[in-house]
């Protein structure tokens, strides 16, 4: 008997928990403007395509069919019913290439964003912690980065060291590190003087513990906002370099290189350039709008 009662109680608790969560979720959803919902939907779609690219791609993205070059698909008034978006100048299925490109571009941008965040934040914390000449040196590097545009730096490094995928991702990781470094340094400096860091330090905590367990969670809001705004910048940097033929190298393909190849056929097969371009644009736009919205929602005081 008592067991039964207990079960009933557990059931009730579980149910009420679920109900509670649902209303909470509903509340959140009601607060999200429709525009942001669209952005999230698009990003989610891109994310799914990037993860399950092999399931989505109808053909092998590298397979050439020279007898079917630059075919015009049905949706653009052509007669190719096999290839939904037609083929490129080597007869490769354009949709499959597009899907592969989305995966590459997003993956590279994602890894680059993470590297930048870790690198920049760490350097900022190191500068704030050690002060003195370490601080001076790191801030000098920050200033240096400001006066050398990433694009130029990237071209210099690629010219001297050549290029491969891993190297390229790390190179992208440099883009924008100075923003994180300056921000995290500033926040760590103010946190150090504000009570809790002093208090925790005097408990005998090691600097690593202080920074990872206390200062990091305290500044995470601002870092998350910076992350969402840095991601589109990463996509733009990668696609720009790939567009110039100096980023992602064949046989792999990115949205930038896809666009670059497509521009030669704009008079006849305009979608070969326009579709990858629009994909980049919609993705960066969604991320920018989402980032702005998150910033304004999380903390109205850091709005600038």
């Amino acid at each position: 008997m008592s067991d039964n009662v207990k079960n009933e109680k557990v059931k009730f608790e579980v149910l009420s928990g679920v109900v509670g969560q649902e209303t909470k979720l509903q509340k959140v959803f009601r607060k999200v403007p429709p525009m942001i919902m669209l952005c999230i939907a698009w990003l989610l779609f891109m994310f799914i395509v990037a993860v399950f690219w092999e399931q989505f791609a109808p053909f092998d993205y590298e397979a050439q069919d020279l007898s079917h070059r630059l075919s015009v698909p049905k949706i653009f008034g052509g007669n190719d019913t096999v290839h939904i978006l037609g083929t490129d100048s080597l007869g490769r299925d354009f949709l499959s290439r597009l899907i592969r490109s989305i995966r590459t571009s997003l993956l590279v941008a994602f890894c680059g964003t993470i590297i930048t965040a870790v690198l920049g934040t760490t350097l900022g914390f190191v500068a704030a912690h050690f002060r003195g000449w370490v601080d001076e040196a790191i801030m000098m590097l920050v200033d240096f980065q400001y006066s050398l545009p990433f694009m130029i730096l990237a071209l210099l490094v690629i010219a001297f060291f050549g290029n491969n995928l891993v190297f390229f991702v790390f190179l992208l990781g440099i883009e924008g590190w100075n923003k994180y470094a300056r921000m995290s340094r500033g926040m760590a400096l103010s946190a150090q003087n504000n009570g809790y860091a002093v208090a925790i330090r005097q408990l005998g905590a090691s600097p690593v513990r202080l920074y990872t367990k206390h200062i990091l969670p305290n500044v995470s809001n601002i870092l998350i906002v910076e992350l969402t705004l840095n991601f589109p910048a990463k996509i733009l940097a990668e696609t720009s370099l790939s567009f110039l033929g100096l980023g992602i190298q064949p046989p792999d393909t990115s949205l930038g290189s896809l666009l670059s190849f497509g521009r030669a056929y704009m008079m006849t097969n305009w979608w070969l350039a326009v579709i990858p371009g629009l994909t980049i644009f919609l993705t960066t736009l969604s991320m920018c709008l989402l980032g702005d919205w998150v910033r304004d929602t999380i903390d109205p005081t850091i709005r600038k």
Binding site: Y196, A199, Q202, G204, H214, P217, N218
Partner: protein, 324 residues
């Protein structure tokens, strides 16, 4: 002879000031300017003075949160300035601090239970499984219910926060607890509660307290021995009862006379201090209290008096009293 826990010997602390000019002479703010005292084991030691007199800096020097420009701090006979970073961290088990602003001293993004547990994790005390119980015991010791474990600092009242800070300090069972104006940020109505909690803990755990305050009523209520500081210097040092019964330094007299009293005739004897204390960046020659002292003599403007023991551990730095 009682055992000395802390010996502060001739402490000086100067802060370099930022200058606008490129080649100007560096100027210094003398926050602590030659301070010597001992804290005995188990006593409730008070430090009194106006804001800006170097009380908080002294506390930081005692805990070696900042290094003195000159002078040494001995803790249990050990020179604090010689500690290596690891030893420095380890010695935190013996000395803990309570801050003026309890909200600022707590991490706003961590539940308070975890924060009380933190010293245990840092110093690897106890079995990880037992730690939660230790925290709950500690909460009980500072008269808080176990439900507070999962609360966040902003959900608590000022008094509750200060209890949390106290619990975090006490969980490592320190020998010395330095309290820097621990109640001045609290509502008057709960100040007494927290002070009594301090007193109870002092008695129960046989802790040594260094209690910093500008509020003489509270200091009188809780402290065994008191030093009075003025502009970075100790002007008087005595047992609590002795200090209030037989106040020697004009500054201490002024401070004590300013304490609101219930007896009307005491009110009449109030000594008013005029003017502001001199600028600690460039102090005038002579006694630093001379500019506000009602009994100032020509000699006071010439040289600075030293702290002299008048017997029975009552020390004072005033020519009028010591005659030297």
């Amino acid at each position: 002879m009682r055992e000395k826990l802390v010996e502060a010997k001739g402490l000086y602390k100067q802060y370099a000031l930022k200058s606008d000019k490129l080649f100007a002479k560096r100027r210094y703010l003398k926050a602590v300017d030659g301070v010597t005292f001992d804290i005995y084991k188990g006593e409730f030691f008070g430090v009194v003075g106006e804001s800006g007199c170097g009380k908080s800096t002294t506390a930081k020097l005692i805990l070696d949160m900042e290094h003195p420009t000159k002078g040494t701090v001995l803790f249990k006979g050990r020179d604090m300035s010689t500690l290596k970073p690891k030893e420095w961290r380890a010695i935190r088990l013996d000395m803990q601090m309570i801050f003026q602003d309890p909200l600022g001293a707590l991490d706003p993004y961590m539940c308070v239970g975890k924060q009380i547990m933190e010293p245990l994790e840092i110093h690897n005390i106890g079995d990880p499984k037992d730690r939660k119980q230790m925290v709950l015991d500690m909460l009980a010791a500072v008269s808080l219910k176990p439900i507070f474990y999962d609360r966040y600092p902003h959900e608590l009242s000022g008094g509750q926060r200060q209890r949390i800070v106290l619990a975090r300090a006490l969980i490592v069972k320190p020998q010395l607890l330095v309290c820097d104006e621990p109640i001045s940020a609290l509502d008057v109505s709960i100040q007494a509660q927290v002070v009594n909690l301090f007193k109870r803990i002092h008695k129960e755990l046989n802790l040594t307290f260094m209690f910093i305050s500008h509020d003489l009523r509270i200091v009188k209520h809780v402290c065994d021995r008191i030093i009075v500081m003025y502009l970075g210097r100790v002007v008087e040092e005595a047992e609590s009862d002795e200090l209030f019964a037989n106040t020697l330094h004009p500054y201490s007299q002024a401070l004590i006379s300013a304490v609101p009293s219930l007896t009307p005739d005491a009110q009449a004897k109030r000594i008013m201090l005029h003017g502001d204390p001199p600028n600690p960046i460039d102090l005038p020659k002579g006694c630093r209290f001379a500019s506000r002292c009602s009994k100032c003599t020509p000699r006071c403007l010439e040289s600075e008096p030293e702290l002299v023991d008048m017997g029975n551990g009552h020390k004072v730095a005033c020519f009028l009293v010591t005659g030297k």
